[in-house]
Amino acid sequence: MKRLFFTFTVLCLGIFSAGAQHPWMQTGNAAGTAFGLWKDGGAVNLSAIQKEGKLRPVQEASSSTAVIASTYGTANVGKVRLYGDFAFRNIFDKGLSYNTNLYRTALDMPYYILDPNESNWTRQEYDMNVKASIPIGERFAAGLSVNYLDCVGAKQKDPRSETYLVKAGVCPGVVWKPSKKHTLGISGDFLYSYERAYPSNNNPKLDQKTISTLGLGEGANSYVGGNNGLHDYHYTLWRFGGAVQYSYSGSWNVISELGVRKESTEVIHKISLPESMGRTDRLLFHAMLEALSGPHFIKVNGSFRTTDGTEKIQVKDNTSLSQGWITVAQNKMSRYNHASVLADYSFTFPTSLSIGALAVFDMESDVYNIPVSTFGYSRIRAGAYASRRFQIRKSSLNLRADAGYTASLGGDYVYGGSKTDSPAVALYRELLDYYTSSYASAAIAAAYIFGGGKLRYSVSGDASILAGPSGKNYFTGSLSLGILF
């Protein structure tokens, strides 16, 4: 909700230049930006975001303060169209639970360390993206997207970890424009991600109990501390994927994409004596369509993700010269499915007033095979919004208001194992409580852009609230100052 709203605010309030708003920027194929309107420009922004509340997944912060410095720019260099952005985020999270070593937990990553001690986290992120495209003749273009994300996070209470995450991705693509109206594209999607965390204790005299999780409440009792406690965890992800795109320019302007990604993540404990903690194999499908015709705007998104968790049965070879863990068997022990669909329609009046409605459906269906445990939920969100742009001489004021309701369609967590008192089981009970909550939401946003000449300035802010049952709410507010050039 928050991300969608912020994106809308940024895009619809005109903070991005024409280059950054190019329809093909929303696809994974940069080659498409070689055709169509393109304008040089850029911006520098300083933002602060505050989040507070109990209506959240328990592995996320109950209170979070983020300070973000970001910039982007678009340029033509000869025939090459370039786009680049960079963001530095300094994030202070408070009140997270059940995560010892992962920068961010995910429902389909079952292999990590979990402890029951609620803790703060501090995080820093360096996020860079570059897109380049070049026409090849009249009908073809080639493009390349490169993205790099570097994160460091530190849990602030024993057992604590300092975790380092780096992601580097590249998406080469080509497009073919057989006519003025039609453009076809195909792109690849390759990503390497590596995360390393070493859990430790500040108090060396007190070992900390943890769970080396296997999924849906299953896990092995473990601990951090001493000579034989948990050591370094390593997550190595490779992604291979691709997508096809199609755009149409006519009475309707349409951009669409259909893509698939296959990701495999190996989780290793103690790199000096590598022991497999498991592997996930993730398959993702996504589809996107946006259509604009006069005052009508339609957007449809859909995604489906299925992840298999494979556990390796290993024995340790203790012979002095060839020590190591030997895999004797591997079994698919768990599967995590998620699906979501978004439909959004808006109408813009000549007065620059826009009204719209959207609906989002998402569902999760997970199973651990032996002993059988299941987790799942489904929910639907419906919302309406209105926005208007006011032109005041050379300045503009943009306002937007949202209201919505998220209705739980049900959910269940059935734990079939023997460790019913485990914190890993408590985690899923709390997650179910969140994902099966129904709640109302409301949000407002405003952006004021002023100044003339080569430099313009922006002040924008937004606030949103999720109002759930039993007084559980979640508040988000942000303020941003920017310079546009």
Binding site: I313, K316, Q323, A329, N331, K332
Partner: protein, 416 residues
């Protein structure tokens, strides 16, 4: 709708899947008990416990005609424990066998050989190894202050006969002779029939002419690191215990330590350090976290020379071999339960001690003591002894000498 959606997704996955793992299903383990080393008495049935080495989930079954069938196991690596007890007059015979790292990735069978051990007259009744915390860590004092010089071992006559403490030997520090600190190397020693021995680095022996230190049924004696009143304000204060009445202490002579602390020679009888294979520490101490204590009556002279060396690690220890058949009792402990449950995570063979205790941390001030099994007509307590510290011992918030009414030996004239 939901099922249709995921059925469609499953079809997509099937089309794209390129790597196949085993289709997961539960497996059945059949365990046969090998009684070939038993001589006379054989139990009617054994309890077989299979513990998954990854999740530590344990499943048990009873044998019928020496065979136990355990269905419904998650495929994995299992540690097997086979145990039974039989009463033979006043004594109890324990039958214990183990098998480590048994691969049960499909329906499987395993054979576990059991060995017999008779319960000893002398047993460890209370073991206080963990140390205490005098000053808790704080923002001003990150590490706090801890104390470990009050370690003691209370040994009890659990039989109906008078026995003698003269010449008995006691040893700790098995973690040093068993494996490297991180368990990456399990030490091996090149001697004939190594399975008949345990290996020790330091051994202390109680003096005596064979009848000097009688211990009657229901009496106990205390072997301690330092037989002083540790509740003195200059030591550990009320966090510790008064050991000035202990029977034996591991002291050769008064010693001044590097920090100025004077280890005084007290009323307790001084033991002799008969074996020291490495650097001679001024004091005798067990690990406050992971270790074991062994009481044995040596059947051969313990020479303090010609030690045997570890063969698989150039930095491994020199040790003295001690016959397993000489061992009267042993107790092992790990800080964290998870380590003891791992394959190879214990220091002693199962027939000596099939289990362990875990306090979860060092310097908790807690002790472990043997559970009472029954009381005789004369009022003496019989303590449980199945050679399995996991089930025979309980955890106490504070140590206590002669807990449960054990009597001190008559020759101890200095205890209050």
């Amino acid at each position: 709708m939901k099922k249709l959606f995921f059925a469609f997704a499953a079809a997509l996955i099937a089309l794209t899947a390129c790597k196949k793992e085993n289709a997961i299903k539960t497996v059945t383990l059949t365990v046969t008990v090998d009684e070939s080393e038993l001589t006379s008495v054989k139990p009617d049935t054994y309890t077989v416990t299979a513990t998954n080495s990854a999740t530590t989930v344990a499943v048990s079954a009873k044998t019928e005609n020496g065979i136990a069938t355990i269905p419904g196991l998650v495929p994995g690596i299992y540690n097997l424990n086979v145990a039974a007890s039989v009463s033979e007059g006043p004594a109890i015979l324990n039958f214990i066998g183990t098998a480590q790292s048994v691969q049960v990735t499909a329906d499987a069978s395993a054979t576990v050989k059991v060995a017999e051990s008779k319960t000893s007259a002398l047993v460890f009744k209370e073991v206080y190894y963990n140390g205490c915390t005098i000053v808790e860590p704080s923002e001003e004092d990150e590490y706090g202050e801890t104390y470990f010089r009050d370690q003691f071992y209370e040994i009890y006559n659990n039989s109906t006969e008078t026995v003698y403490a003269d010449g008995l030997c006691i040893a700790v520090g098995l973690w040093q002779s068993y494996a490297s600190y991180d368990f990456s190397v399990i030490y091996t020693y090149d001697i004939p029939n190594p399975e008949k021995y345990i290996f020790l680095k330091t051994i202390w022996q109680i003096p005596g002419d064979g009848t000097q230190y009688p211990v009657k049924p229901g009496e106990s004696f205390v072997v301690c690191q330092w037989g002083t009143n540790h509740t003195a304000e200059t030591l550990a204060g009320n966090k510790s215990i008064d050991l000035s009445g202990a029977e034996f202490e591991a002291i050769i002579a008064e010693t001044t330590l590097w920090n100025g602390l004077v280890i005084t020679d007290n009323a307790a009888v001084n033991m002799s350090r008969v074996v020291e294979t490495g650097y001679a520490m001024p004091q005798w101490m067990a690990s406050v976290g992971d270790d074991a204590v062994v009481l044995f009556n040596p059947s051969v002279e313990l020479k303090n020379e010609n030690f045997i060396s570890c063969t698989n690690d150039e930095y491994g220890p020199d040790v003295r071999e001690v016959l397993r058949s000489d061992i009267l009792d042993a107790v092992q402990w790990r800080t964290n339960k998870e380590d003891g449950e791992k394959a190879g995570g214990l220091y002693l063979p199962a027939e000596i001690d099939g289990g362990f205790q875990a306090l979860g941390a060092s310097y908790t001030g807690k002790s472990i003591s043997r559970k009472a099994a029954s009381t005789r007509e004369d009022g003496t307590v019989v303590y449980q002894d199945t050679n399995n510290a996991s089930v025979d011992f309980q955890i106490n918030d504070k140590p206590e000498v002669r807990r449960g009414g054990a009597k001190k030996p008559s020759w101890n004239t200095w205890a209050k």
